[in-house]
Symmetry: C2
Subunit: 195 residues, 2 copies
């Protein structure tokens, strides 16, 4: 129905998460209305992001250099490392503007279902940077895999003479007690604080 | 927060209709996880669609050649021309698999608000292909601009010794009488058919 080059572009857009046939068609047809410069800059952005972005050699965060901006920033607290699943989590954390320590990106979580074992994670580099570190905050998601990884890490790090903490579980801001799942409510009760 | 090349990719994704900051970020970060081949094929698809797709010299439909597949198809009914606003409408119509005539793409609609006049539309080529045509079906959308264009065209074509028809207005399939807007209901009553 479409000329071949439009078909191909539609297929490409279908790579995007949550983009089905209908949206991909809409995107592809809209692209035809854009100027040649815009299209070229889009194509270049794709290729250059893929070519230039790599994991930081220290923490695994996204960077275009060997070392990421956060690891290079001397104003940050080098004595605290926040361990996260992926570089996306670093960005989520940075958006809060509340955390000023370092990060370590695991690139995955321990999962018996997916066959991901501790040795598959970016852990050796973590163990190598623990000198002078006072606290490791484990900020994996409160899912089965996130919890498993947190417990594994807490166990490995317990003799290293540093504080190991876990981000709090509880009710999310804006949620309603009557709609929240039981486990979250149990955690919220367990972790209650004196006012 | 992001390396520059990711920022740029996010900006590019924000060109897509209905894609805001959050989705653009998600798309950009997902692209980093794709293989280099996939990214290259995406970039090439963008550029090749833009470079290769042009309007058919007869009807204005999308094509990679001078004349589109529909105009080139001798099995189609050359005596009927369906006039549509854009090449996207040709595709919508073709998906029904019910229409076997020719098309003519106006590339717009008459609009006093947007300052689009009849001479801005792809109309001269339409007038030049009316020999041997028995019916012109005006299939612009039932909007103010679509109706204006339909009335203008009907008026211009009325002395040309051919039938000029307009696609039907009424209730869309699956819609509910109690939810439909008044104008659609009025049109549906006016255009009622004997069973």
């Amino acid at each position: 129905m479409y000329p071949k080059s439009i078909e191909k572009l539609i297929e490409s857009f279908k790579m995007l998460p949550g983009v089905g046939n209908k949206s991909a068609e809409r995107y592809a047809l809209l692209m035809l209305e854009k100027s040649e410069e815009e299209i070229e800059s889009f194509a270049n952005a794709l290729i250059s992001a893929k070519q230039n972005v790599k994991p930081c050699k220290i923490c695994g965060n996204y960077t275009e250099n060997d070392i990421c901006d956060i690891c290079n920033d001397n104003s940050r607290d080098k004595e605290t490392i926040c361990v996260v699943q992926s570089a996306k989590d670093v960005i989520a954390m940075e958006k809060t503007k509340e955390y000023h320590g370092m990060y370590h990106v695991l690139n995955g979580l321990i999962s018996s279902v997916k066959g991901i074992m501790p040795q598959d994670l970016n852990l050796d580099t973590l163990y190598n940077r623990l000198d002078n570190v006072k606290e490791v905050i484990i900020a994996t998601s409160p899912t089965l895999e996130g919890e498993t990884t947190a417990m594994y890490l807490a166990n490995v790090l317990k003799n290293k003479n540093l504080k190991v903490t876990r981000i709090a579980h509880g009710l999310q801001m804006g949620s309603h007690v009557d709609y929240v799942d039981e486990l979250s409510l149990i955690k919220a009760m367990e972790n209650r604080k004196e006012l």
